[in-house]
Amino acid sequence: MRSPLASLVGFHLRERRRSPLAWGLPLGAMSAFIVAIYPSVQGALTKVVAQYPEGLKQAFGIGQLSSVEQYLHGEMLSLIVPLAVGYLAARAVASNLSGAAESGRLEVVLSAPVTRRAVCVGAFLAAAVEVAAVLLLTLVLSLLGSLVAGAGLGVGHALAGFAAVWPLALVGAGLAIVVSGFSLKTSVVTGVVAGFLVAMYVVDLIGKLDTNLSGIRYASIFRYYGNAIEEGIEAPAFLGLLALAALLVLLGAALVERRDLSL
C-alpha cells in the first residue's frame, strides 16, 4: 500500500502531466534557438558587447560572450528561465492547494485521513518533480540545438546551469505554501511569488550595478543562484537554497495547519 504522501504526489503529477511539455517545450525551443544561432552571431556579438558599459555587462552577466555557455546564461539562464520556472513552481503548488480549495478538491481530500502537512509536502514534492522535468526537457532541447548547429555547448556546463535553477524554483514553491497559509486564492499565491522573484532579481541587479550597494545582494536568492553554467554549481549555495525551500515548506505547512479551510 502506498503512503498517503506518495499517493498525493502521484495524483498531483498525473493531474499536471501536461505541464512539463507545456512549459518545457517553449522554454527548450527558445533555449535551443539561442544555442543554435550562437555560431553565426558570435563575431557580431563580440563587437556589440565590447561597446557595452562594463557595469551593464556585469549586471546582466553578459561577460565577453566568448562562449556559447556565456551566451546561454546571458540570454536565458540569468533571468528568463529562473523567473519562468520559479513561477511555474508556485503555480504547481497553488494548483494543489489554493486551486484545490477553489475547486472543492481540498475539502474532499482533507475529509480523508490525511494531515494538512502531508498535503503541503505532497504539493511541494510534486512541484519539485514537475520543475525538474521542465528543466530536463529544456536542457535536452538546448543540447540538441547545440548538436544540430555545432555550437559546442558542454554537457556538464549545461547540466550545471539548468540544475542550479532547481533549488531557486523550489524556494518559489516553498514561498507559495507560506502564502497559502494566509490566502487560498490562486491569484494571490502566484502573484506574491512572482513579485518576490522579480524583487529578488532587482535587489541582486542593484547590488551588481552599484558597488556601494553590493552588500544587499546577500539578501537576494539570485546572489546564491549565481552563474553555474560558467562557474559550476556552488554546493553551499545550492544546498542553502534547498534548505531555505525546506524551511519555507515547514513554515507554510504549520500556517496551513492553523488556518480555516475557507477562501
Partner: protein, 298 residues
C-alpha cells in the same frame, strides 16, 4: 456506545457576523439526523467545524468518541463527507478521484463500483463535463464507498432527479441498518420526513430546536382551504386559537393553523363542508413555526 456526534457550546464566530454560536447537541450512534435551516443559518459551518476543516472559536466537539481537533485524522478514517457544492477539479474524472481517496483510506473500490451502478454514475468522464446531479452522484460515492461509521452529507440530493433521490433514500436506510450514523443538512422536507429520526433546526447560527420528525411536522403551521355548502364559517374560524390569515373568496375559506386541531374540526363540523384541503407544510412554514415560537419565548 459513544455518541456519534457530541458538541458542547461549539462556536465559530466570523468578523462578518455569520457562524455558529454555542451549539450543543448529541446525535446517538445509528441515528439519521437532519440539520435544517435556511441559507446562511450555519449548517455548513457546523459540518466543517465538526470535520476540523475550520477551527472553532470556542467550545468542543467529539465525533465517534474522539476529539474533533486532536483526533481529527483518526476521526476522518471513519467518516464519509459530501460537501455542499461537491467538486474535485474540472478535468479530474470520478475514477481518478476515487483511486486517490481509496489509497488515502486504504480501502477497496468494489463498493464504489456497485454504487456507481446503482446511481448510474459515470466515473470516467471529467467532472467538469457532468451536470450538477451527475457530479453529486460521484460525490455520494466518494463519501460512502468505504462504509464509514458516520456519514456527513451537506445538501445531498441537490440536483438529483426523483429516481436518484429514491435511490439515495434507500442508501441512507441501508447505512442506518448496518449501524452507521447519518448527519445530513437539507432543504427538502419530504426527504427529512422520510429518512430522519430527529432533526435539529438552526437559525442565525443557533440551534433552536431538536425534535423527532412527527413533532416537527405537528408544530408546523398548515394551510387549510375549506369550501362550505352553506354560507358563513369564516368569522367563526377567525375566533379560534391558532388560526390566522383567514381569507374568504369565491365560496372558499383559506387559513393557516397551528397547534391543536380539534377545535378547528369541531368548528368545521357545524357546517356542511363541500370540500376540504389540508396542505403539507413547506420547510419555510416549519421554520416559521419554530422561529415564531422562539421569538415568543424570547
Amino acid at each position: 456506545m459513544a455518541a456519534a456526534i457530541e458538541t458542547e457550546r461549539l462556536s465559530k464566530l466570523y468578523p462578518g457576523g455569520h457562524g455558529i454560536a454555542e451549539l450543543t447537541m448529541t446525535v446517538p450512534s445509528g441515528e439519521v439526523f437532519g440539520f435544517l435551516g435556511p441559507n446562511g443559518a450555519g449548517k455548513t459551518t457546523t459540518i466543517r467545524t465538526l470535520l476540523d476543516l475550520i477551527h472553532p472559536t470556542s467550545g468542543s466537539a467529539r465525533l465517534l468518541g474522539l476529539d474533533s481537533r486532536r483526533d481529527s485524522v483518526a476521526i476522518r478514517r471513519r467518516v464519509g463527507n459530501l460537501p455542499g457544492d461537491f467538486g474535485f477539479g474540472r478535468e479530474t474524472t470520478g475514477r481518478r478521484a476515487l483511486e486517490l481517496l481509496a489509497r488515502l483510506r486504504g480501502a477497496g473500490t468494489e463498493r464504489a463500483a456497485e454504487l456507481a451502478g446503482r446511481f448510474r454514475a459515470d466515473l470516467d468522464r471529467p467532472l467538469g463535463e457532468l451536470s450538477r446531479g451527475n457530479r453529486q452522484k460521484v460525490g455520494l460515492i466518494l463519501a460512502s464507498f468505504h462504509r464509514p461509521d458516520l456519514l456527513v452529507l451537506d445538501e445531498p440530493t441537490g440536483g438529483l432527479d426523483p429516481m436518484m433521490q429514491e435511490e439515495f433514500l434507500a442508501l441512507v436506510g441501508e447505512e442506518r441498518d448496518r449501524g452507521a450514523t447519518v448527519f445530513l443538512s437539507s432543504h427538502e422536507l419530504d426527504e427529512v420526513e422520510r429518512i430522519c429520526d430527529r432533526v435539529g433546526i438552526v437559525r442565525a447560527g443557533r440551534l433552536i430546536a431538536v425534535e423527532r420528525v412527527p413533532e416537527l411536522l405537528g408544530r408546523a403551521r398548515r394551510k387549510v382551504t375549506v369550501r362550505f355548502a352553506d354560507p358563513g364559517g369564516a368569522e367563526e374560524l377567525r375566533r379560534l386559537a391558532g388560526v390566522s390569515d383567514v381569507e374568504a373568496a369565491d365560496g372558499a375559506v383559506s387559513f393557516h393553523f397551528g397547534g391543536d386541531l380539534d377545535p378547528v374540526v369541531k368548528a368545521l363540523a357545524a357546517h356542511h363542508v363541500a370540500d376540504l384541503e389540508v396542505s403539507r407544510p413547506t420547510l419555510e412554514e416549519v421554520f416559521l413555526g419554530y422561529y415564531e415560537g422562539e421569538e415568543g419565548a424570547g
